[in-house]
Symmetry: C2
Subunit: 156 residues, 2 copies
DNA sequence: TTTTTTGCAAAACCTTTGCAGTTGG
DNA sequence: CCAACTGCAAAGGTTTTGCAAAAAA
């Protein structure tokens, strides 16, 4: 069994492409919106709304947090943006056009393993066969203990 | 491969047992603490701190939310209480002495599948072998789409 | 021009913390 | 008695909402 893609995401690789995706859906390109997109293109990892509003350490101009949230939500609805919840902490946002990742998160030390979806397909297949459930590890990671913390839990 | 238990939990089946577990550790039994325990024994499913403080629809007397949080945390540290994060929403608390459950949560419709840990052992084994990771689905559930929502996602 | 979007402020939501007063052992 | 604990109030961190002003198409 091979696993189908998850989200109806739009194909784009650069800012112009993302802007085209916006326009296709009749959503306006505003300064605030462009800033969020620029930030997401500049970031090489998922970032929080707060980081985006703060300017990503100078990568983009600072902007209003509420608007950042609204724009992330709008663009997520359009399939341009995705977000992931890593443990507690704030949601982290990334471009949906980027290579998709799925995550394993160590509850003890916070170690994050980032995988291509195909690497988790066997797990997904097993879960589907046994429980009729289509597992996803891109929005909420697979949670547990990494090797080191698992050892420590046994000995400690 | 068979999977080892996760948390160092104390054996008890009734309020008296839980109280004994407290005393063993030199922790006082207070009115507020007893109320939380009574609430957890009364509830047949994990409940939020807010629900406990609110009295669980009359099952127990209402009490102070901050104390409920503090007591849940204390008792969790002692292995008497566990909590799970189901999607967004507040953390949900249950007695650690109860039969342990692990969860599959549908991100789309919120459907919750509750399983005995052994049912997920094959998944755990596969994840361990492939990624050296000890997966747990009792604190953060395995997230994805249930059969119905998965179908809908394909056709819809 | 008209509909969408912004920026600000305020609130909502869940959780933690400070502290003076109370209580369990 | 005295360390542990409570209740209240306040704050912390994340996200949402209301609304008048601004801007996109």
């Amino acid at each position: 069994v091979t696993t189908a893609p998850h989200a109806p995401s739009i194909a784009f690789t650069d800012l112009a492409g993302a802007v085209a995706a916006l326009r296709e859906r009749g959503v306006r390109l505003t300064a605030a919106r462009r800033l969020v997109l620029e930030g997401l293109f500049a970031a090489d990892r998922p970032v929080s709304a707060d980081q985006l509003a703060g300017g990503l350490d100078g990568a983009i101009a600072p902007s209003d947090l509420a608007s950042v949230y609204r724009n992330l939500e709008t663009m997520e609805r359009l399939g341009i943006v995705r977000h992931v919840h890593l443990g507690h902490g704030p949601g982290l946002y990334a471009l949906a056009g980027r290579e998709e990742r799925e995550y394993l998160l160590c509850e003890s030390c916070g170690r994050l393993v980032s995988l291509s979806p195909f690497e988790l397909d066997p797990v997904r297949d097993q879960v589907r066969e046994r429980f009729g459930f289509e597992a996803r590890f891109d929005h909420f990671p697979l949670s547990g203990l990494c090797v080191d913390c698992a050892k420590e839990a046994l000995t400690g």
